[in-house]
Subunit: 337 residues, 4 copies
């Protein structure tokens, strides 16, 4: 934290600032400049709130310096984290050499639906099957998912196809059930700051795919991952799924700039969900290609054999042949899928 | 929902659109115009996803028409909802003739702290005491609230001062405890789409103060209130607490435009939290005055006797004398507080 | 500027940073902390671009410290600037004790229209007449204003009613004409960074009302005012007119937080335009009341006797009786209008 | 335009709506639904302002239907526009089969600097040289460009290297000079709604590269292109260069979703400027790769041999070897550069 004094501020104002810093047990380091003085705050643990000094007389500005997170930081751990699923020739590594593709419907609707889609996406190159058993829906009147039965269908999909499973835990109690059935626990965008769920996921024995809140800064997103890691789970993946902006030509805006930023700032694998970033089918393939070209570790894509009948998010789901075309296109870009 | 066809679209494309509408059991109503045809969708229950038709050939644009909510709508209930606390001369009405002020610290830290602040805000004109016992914090390393002990302190505050209590329930289990102790259950901005919590609050016997997610559109905010009401609780208050924008001179941006919009669109009482909308003390009084001048039903203001020692959000808390000055200023504007 | 080094950065990386700072003729001041070192940059004139150091090895973060503006800053000039129009009992002071109201149609359409509206707003309490003679329109097919003829009508309005005039200069050539006719030169939101126009306005002998770009941060807005002042014109007013956010319930979002921020940061008078901030009539009066309650120096309100026939922005114009009600309401709040 | 009535609205309210529509010479088409009636507006030229009907009693909502632009629309012209520079084997086609790369410094600083960079980018695969002679700078105290001398240097670059030239016209007078020297006239982000400049560019004999305003919706951006085309110039390119969002980890956010949207909606060539979208060197290559993978027609990249000494935007400029690496990387993705 750096506290910038007014030009006209005198010793009395400066002393008050130093006193408040020291009252917290921190160290104050005045830095006299040409026009004005600044005061650095040292020996604080964790970041401070700028507003803490803004009300003192003679203070012009207060500037945060430290990052709030530690465990997720590449500074803490320079080498990439790799999330491994399975063993031997069937193993999948997220954060390794290959781009891993996760695909499937928004929601699990029936065993037939899930199996039909699973076979189609496996054939096209997917290694994980995605599908929600518990659905957070913005309307209380919408389909809320099959619940436990959906989880059993997912287990069946894994058994029949060999695809690994990723599915969402919508609260800390649901997480108990999901952990038993899934290979990766997904935390959705609306729950990015559901701290009780984050802590529960941090105690899980399974890897966690954390979706960025559509409103979240990088600091907030990385702090949510820090919550999970602080409970002992270091198998966390960061999923960019679009942010809220002023635009109206798509449901969200893929934050492409976040990809290289996260790569520099964190050692955790990066996943992109082009389906929710787009919200409409005709933008999904371009966004998926963009993400792949930036070197993300995994893509999570909604695919449905009958999207017009889907109970949730059908209109952003690719048809299986479009998904096949997407994977083929990525291979034509010399990306190893 | 209105589906707008391309100029060049012919009968075949139009038929495909009509067929998809009818396949869902809805009615299609073509509206031929000068240059192109549009198709209205009728008899659907609840709003549709525009993307559902965007992939059909010949479709240029799809435009939502219906609002997704019902119970919260002023169309459903033209007269204002009034939330009543207590009886007789001590009763408080939120949504009535007077501006109700809720004030107190961000977090309950100790009995002494809570009582000292409660007496101060009561004297200045507050009718409710606010203070968190369970705190959602963006860092896992920060103070998380006193929990049950905090609730007991709040009960003591009510007993000693006669102030009603509003405090946050951070998840559905915590809500069981909070409901026993509080007069109003608060749902925080990060939980605006925690649907399990919303349903739980909808089953509570106490009124609910719902804070808007900092990213939420009006439709999303009103749908969150609809979740609560759909479980049978019609004592819901809508709290604007600032949205996330590109600006950096404040923690959030108070969405002043939302106040008259909500007044027109919903019958529920409107509360403004200028403290979180500002994030820094020097903007709180101006924002509170602005909200009061627009005729909101209640203000929720953070006040602390020793903000520099506060364990949470001290820098946006008013000193008691500033709070007093705020209330006096509102009365000078001929607002009945 | 503060350059924050990686924990692991050694002397070599630090030296490279210092060398680059000194190569620009500035002074480098290393500040060793507990975990890492930061380097302050001193003796630079004007703010630096953070990216200038981000590419050096061992640099973790670069943080701007100085504000980019000088002349507009309250630090430079502690007392408020007052813009004075006219003399004697007819004089108007913007930035003085009274709230000044500017009112009129979006565009001057005819002499009759202008005079009818002018008489109405004067009677209700307006001191300036607003109306565009040159209109920047987002469609090339829309009404673009009466041009010179519009300016002549404005002169007539002043002569007949005694109201002062404020009207927009849309480019540097138009500014020559506008300066001759008007009392205040308005620069519109789309031209906030039209630097040639800003310089031209800075050479004018008339005060300038500068509207904030709907995308502009406070730094950018204040720098645009600095452009004008740097040419010698110190009669500048800062007009907040709404920013672009993700919301859709209003055309723009009034940035209420900006009002106290500008008051602290600058000595220039503050104007609010609730009409453009709302974009729809039913939000104008609440926003105007909010601005007045925050102590702004002037309001700029669109009023039209026949808004349904207006050639531009009719739907956000108040009817004269609504305008009268607004002014009366402000007086009931004990605001001197 | 579709006007949605309240459930309770009766014949009187409906008649008033119809009357207002017909008063403008348009046609009103009532569409009775299950719960309420909507009214379509037909035979209007160009889009209407929703607020025009929002104030009528009984009106619940007003929904725009038509797009405001024509000439830029793919509906008007289904085949892609191709911008051609030069003839024979040296010809360049933007909007053709190849990805065209434009590269060079932010500002022309000297003949030596320009030639050195030009030779470097040509060798790596660029076909156009970019460089500003007139610079719009947010501070009045910054370097403003070499002006006419800069244009002469650009002419020299073309002569010596055979690269085509793209440079910015900052206002309508400057456009006269720029048109004489350049191959493509660039209009900058801050001038996207400088209508006088847009009209002037529409009268030019040279193609125009129009940068999107960092705040602009797709409708606003396409309307700015419509301004240019409405004056007779149909050689217009749409350049996405990042939008303003709440994020702080980059100067702007590349709106990746806009690329497929513009491709569907318009026949004009699409250019992406990853340098300004990033604002920092370490994000430029990833964003350029993302854009190329989405099939844009051209990239505009800042390159500088000594970015640390650049007078403008050095920190976002690639070194020549990074630029070479970028082009090589694109070719490895099987993109024809």
């Amino acid at each position: 934290m750096l506290i910038v004094m007014h030009k006209e501020a005198g010793d009395r104002e400066l002393d008050a600032v130093i006193k408040r810093i020291e009252a917290h047990g921190w160290e104050a380091k005045p830095i006299p400049g040409g026009e004005r003085t600044a005061v650095g705050v040292l020996r604080n643990k964790g970041p401070l709130d700028p507003a803490m000094f803004l009300d003192l007389p003679g203070v012009r500005d207060v500037i945060p310096v430290s990052k709030p997170y530690k465990l997720v930081s590449r500074e803490m751990r320079p080498e990439n984290t790799v999330v491994r699923l399975g063993r031997g020739s069937d193993a999948v590594e997220i954060g390794g050499q290959q781009l891993v593709v996760m695909a499937g419907p928004c929601a699990v609707e029936s065993e037939n639906q899930a199996l039909e889609i699973a076979h189609a996406v496996k054939e096209a190159g997917a290694r994980l099957f995605r599908g929600g058993a518990f659905k957070p829906r913005s309307s209380p009147y919408s389909f809320q998912g099959l619940g436990l039965k959906g989880l059993e269908i997912l287990a069946k999909v894994r058994e029949e196809t060999g695809l690994f499973i990723v599915t969402e835990a919508t609260d800390h109690e649901v997480c108990d059930m999901v952990e038993d059935f899934t290979d990766i626990i997904q935390i959705g965008t609306r729950n990015m700051q559901n701290y009780r769920l984050l802590r529960r996921a941090g105690q899980a024995k399974k890897p966690v795919l954390l979706k960025r809140g559509m409103w979240a800064t990088m600091d907030e997103f990385l702090m949510a991952a820090e919550y999970i890691m602080s409970e002992g789970n270091d198998q966390v993946m960061l999923c960019e799924r679009g942010i809220r902006t002023f635009t109206t030509h798509s449901r969200n805006t893929l934050d492409a700039n976040a990809i290289p930023y996260m790569r520099n700032e964190s050692h955790l694998p990066i996943v992109v969900d082009p389906s929710h970033a787009a919200g409409r089918r005709d933008q999904v393939i371009p966004l998926a290609r963009a993400a792949a070209a930036m070197g993300v570790d995994a893509l999570m894509v909604e695919v449905h054999t009958h999207p017009e009948q889907a109970l949730s998010d059908g209109p952003q789901s690719l048809y299986p042949e479009q998904f096949h075309e997407l994977v083929t296109g990525l291979r034509n870009m010399n990306i190893s899928v």
